[in-house]
Each structure stands twice: as structure tokens, then as C-alpha cells.
């Protein structure tokens, strides 16, 4: 495998100044996992949903256990304890990092190195939640979340965990129909990516915008501006298919 040029080092953000929240993790298999940490809003919503679910369950429990008298009250207290302290931990460890709220919002909890969260990290991040709640309404947690590049609250910092989006499988777009062509000069990897990106996104760009973008390259491609788009599509096709 040819050495990767430093400009395309995947561990570093591709170009300085590019605004990107993606978090790269290099795995022992020699590839980069790309995690997308979730920000304050989806996390708060997920927490809100969990809160509602817990509230509903507690209410239901209250009406069921009230018939059992003192025994029911004892059971109720134990269940309250489990709901308060263990609800998140049990779901995160046993349901692949997702409490019901997180599942709904498409989030999940992982260790910093991308591996699924375990008992000890999950316990730490959820026990330290009480500090995040200080002095009122999650103030410390919100401040920490906003100040951290990967949106960690204090509990996440101590536990070494991340809340990330669960990525959906991308739809593979069809390339525009064009006869395969060879580029007039050899393309670098970044240039190849740019040409491929242009062709793959053709359906989401308006015709005028496509012409405008392609005409920027008319001169190096040695074609008139109005043919530049077809030429680019042809080159992209030539990169994918054998000539």
C-alpha cells in the first residue's frame, strides 16, 4: 500500500480551518472509525424522553403497589432506587449503549476508543450525573458539554465515554450516464475525490449550479465551459468503470 500523503492523514482533520465535529479513532485493525458526537440538544431530548418514560413507569408502579400496603411501599422504594440510579446503567450496558430515549434519538454511548460501553464506565458516568446537575438544571453538565469539542459532560469526562450518533447506511447514488473518459492529466487523490463527489451529488444540485461549478474547471480540462460538466461526468465514470 502506498504511503498516505500527509495532507490526507485521516487522523488529523483533513484541512485546517474546516469545521468538523467528527471524531477519528484509530483501531488495532489499522482503520479509522469515524464517530459523530451528539451535541447538547439531541442529548437533552433523549434525556427528556427517558425522564418521561421513568415518570410514567413510576406512576403506574404507584397505582399497582398501593394495593399491597406496607410491603408494596418497601417494594416501591426499592424500585424507585433502581429507576433513579440503575435505569441508565442497565440499558446502556445491556442494550448496546442505548437507553430508550437514546434509541429514539438515534444515539448511543461508547467508550472513547469506540468500543461498546461497559459496567464500570457506565456506572461512573451515571453516578456523576448528580454533579452535572449542580447547582440546578444540569448547569455544570451543559457548560461542560458546550465547552468540550466532543460535547462531553463531566460524567463523560471522568468515565471516558462519548455519546455518538448511530449512523444510517448511506444511499448509494447512481453516477450520471456518460461515456467513460480519461482525464487529460493524472489526478491526485484529493482531485479524484472532488471529481467523484461532483458526479455522485449531481442529483442534489440544480443544473445551473452544476454548470457553474464545472465551468470553473473548463480551462484545465481543455473544453468549452458548457461541455465541462459532461467531461467531468465522463472522467468520473472513467474512474469507476474500466475504460
Amino acid at each position: 500500500m502506498s504511503p498516505i500523503p500527509p495532507s490526507a492523514d485521516p487522523a488529523a482533520p483533513p484541512r485546517a480551518g474546516l469545521l468538523d465535529t467528527r471524531h477519528h479513532v484509530e483501531t488495532p485493525e489499522g482503520i479509522d472509525l469515524i464517530l459523530r458526537p451528539a451535541g447538547l440538544l439531541p442529548r437533552s431530548l433523549a434525556y427528556g424522553i427517558d425522564l418521561l418514560i421513568r415518570g410514567g413507569l413510576m406512576l403506574l408502579m404507584f397505582f399497582l403497589l398501593i394495593w399491597l400496603g406496607r410491603f408494596g411501599m418497601g417494594l416501591g422504594l426499592i424500585l424507585t432506587f433502581l429507576m433513579t440510579w440503575w435505569y441508565m446503567v442497565l440499558f446502556e450496558v445491556l442494550a448496546q449503549g442505548r437507553s430508550p430515549g437514546k434509541r429514539f434519538m438515534g444515539l448511543r454511548v461508547v467508550h472513547d476508543d469506540g468500543t461498546p460501553v461497559g459496567w464500570s464506565a457506565s456506572l461512573v458516568r451515571n453516578l456523576l450525573r448528580v454533579v452535572d446537575m449542580l447547582p440546578f438544571g444540569y448547569t455544570l453538565g451543559i457548560l461542560s458539554c458546550l465547552a468540550n469539542p466532543t460535547f462531553k459532560r463531566l460524567g463523560d469526562l471522568a468515565a471516558g465515554t462519548l455519546v455518538v450518533y448511530r449512523d444510517e447506511e448511506p444511499q448509494v447514488p447512481a453516477l450520471p450516464e456518460a461515456p467513460a473518459q480519461r482525464a487529460p492529466f493524472s489526478l491526485s487523490r484529493d482531485e479524484q475525490n472532488a471529481v467523484m463527489g461532483f458526479a455522485e451529488r449531481h442529483a442534489s444540485l440544480s443544473a445551473a449550479r452544476r454548470t457553474e461549478l464545472a465551468s470553473l474547471l473548463a480551462e484545465p480540462l481543455e473544453v468549452p465551459a458548457e461541455q465541462a460538466e459532461a467531461r467531468l461526468n465522463g472522467i468520473a465514470r472513467g474512474l469507476v468503470d474500466p475504460l
Binding site: L33, L35, G69, G74, I78, V93, Q96, V131, L239
Partner: protein
Amino acid sequence: MKQSQFEARHRDAWAAFTVQLEALEKSKADAEASTRFAADYRQLCQQLALAETRGYGSHLVERLQGLAMRAHQQFYRHRSHLAADLLGFLLAGFPRLVREQWRSVALASLLFYGSLLLMGGLVYVFPDLVYSVMDPAQVASMESMYDPDARRIGPLSERGSGDDWMMFGHYIMNNIGIAFQTFAGGLLFGLGSLFFLLFNGITIGAVAGHLSEIGYTETFWSFVIGHGAFELTAITFAGAAGLQLGWALLAPGRLPRAEALRRAASESVKLVAGVIVMLLIAAFIEAYWSSIALSATWLKYLIGGGLWLLVGAYFLLVGRSPHAPD
């Protein structure tokens, strides 16, 4: 190799791998089919690296990245041997851990028992001092709980045996909640743990001093001696775990603060796991044994003293031999 040829060559393998992944994610994969999973995953990683260096289209690369990500999640899945781990921890790991971290445990014990004894002694000598810690209503309810004429003693003294269960629930929720807060407070540079240790020490000391001073010695001490062995020790351990968090922030040594905190947290949370077990035992003893009003209080002292010795011996002696957990 051009992208379309690459895709055509591996398309079937990727489809099969996706099916396998879906089965694993639903925990429905059979063992036979999973034997090839590690090799397939490595293969996929190699194809992803190849696709990236050859500059294939971003959609293909993203798709492979998605697959690799999902496979990574399954490959490094958390394997839970909860029962075996817990047993090993209780038979050796926990006392070892406590001995290993004796500095923070000693500091927490000093803070807690020191404030307890000091406050107890002061209240015993200057009885009015109890009102500087608790309001008169609290003192009165405390007195009625340990009234020597009651049939059952402790909180809710008028209860029958059916209420023991309720108190069990109450102790679990209350005490473990306090222990968790004591631990979590350590994140505030140790101040939270310090506060809870001293606050609990002073309150318990004031109650003990006051009740001894008004002559409820028999009921109070025979009530608390049994579960105290587990409960008080557990509080100091929770405080010790919290102090470790605070210490990591105050004096991270050569590590960055975040890293020091993470290491301290992963160590101290084990202590918290032990605390949970101890408080469950304490709640059980408190609800079912301590509350019985025996005419022979010497029996309660005997058993209570035995429990203190047991706890002491456990933390000093268990897990000394290197093969103990196996």
C-alpha cells in the same frame, strides 16, 4: 482495479457480512456462522483501507466505514460474566482494593470517625450543643424512636413485622443514595465528599452523644451496633472513592487532568461497587435484626461486636494468597 470491478468482486461478501451483522446485533447469530466473523471483519478492514488509498468514491468508502463501525461494535462487544466477576471481587478483589488504597480509606475514616467522636463527646458533655446541629423536632422524633419502652426500636418504632420490608426498601434507597452522592461529590475537587463525610459524622455523632446522655444508651447502641459495621465502613469507603476523584483533579502528577481523572474514576468505581454490596447487607441487618427489641441486649452486643470483627478481618485478611480468586 477500478471501483466498479472492486464493487462487483466483493458485493456478495459484503451482503453476506451485512446479514451476519444484523443477526449479531439482534443477538440471534448462531455459533457456527459466527466462527468466520473475525476473519471477515479483518477482510473488511483491509478492503476499507484499500478503498481509501485508491481514492474510490466517498459513498463506497462511507458504506464500508459504516460496516466496519458496526462490526467493530460487535467484535469488541462487552462480555458480561457478572456473577463470576462479582464472586471473584467479593472473595479477593474488594479487600485487596481496600488495602491497596489504604491512604484514601484512612483519610476518609479519620474525617468521618474523627468528626463523629468529637461531636459525640462534645454533645455528651454539653447537651445543648445537639440543637446547633438538629432542630428540636428532629431531636424529639429521634428520642421517641429509641424510647426504651417501645416494643420495636429504630425509625418507625411502632411498626409490626410487615413493616420491616418497607424499612428495608427505605434503607436501600436512602443509604445507597447517600453513598453515591458522597462518591460523586468528589468530582468537585473532593469538596463534596469532604462535606458528606463531615456532615454525616457530625450528625451521627450528635445523635449518639445526645441519646447516650439522656440515658437511652441500651436501645440506641444495641440498635446501631449490628448494621453499623457495614454501614459506617461503607460510608467511609464511598468517601475514600470520592476523595480519590478529587485528588486526581488537584494533583494529577504527570498526567493531564482529564486522563488522571479517568484513571482515578475507573479505579474508585470498583470501591463503589463494593460499597453497594455492603449497604445491601447493612440494610438487611438494619431492617430485620437491629429492629428487634430483645430483652437480652447482651446478645445484640455480642453479635454486633462479632460483625465488626468479621468486617475487620475480611478487609485485613481475605485475598492475601495470590490464588485466592481462582
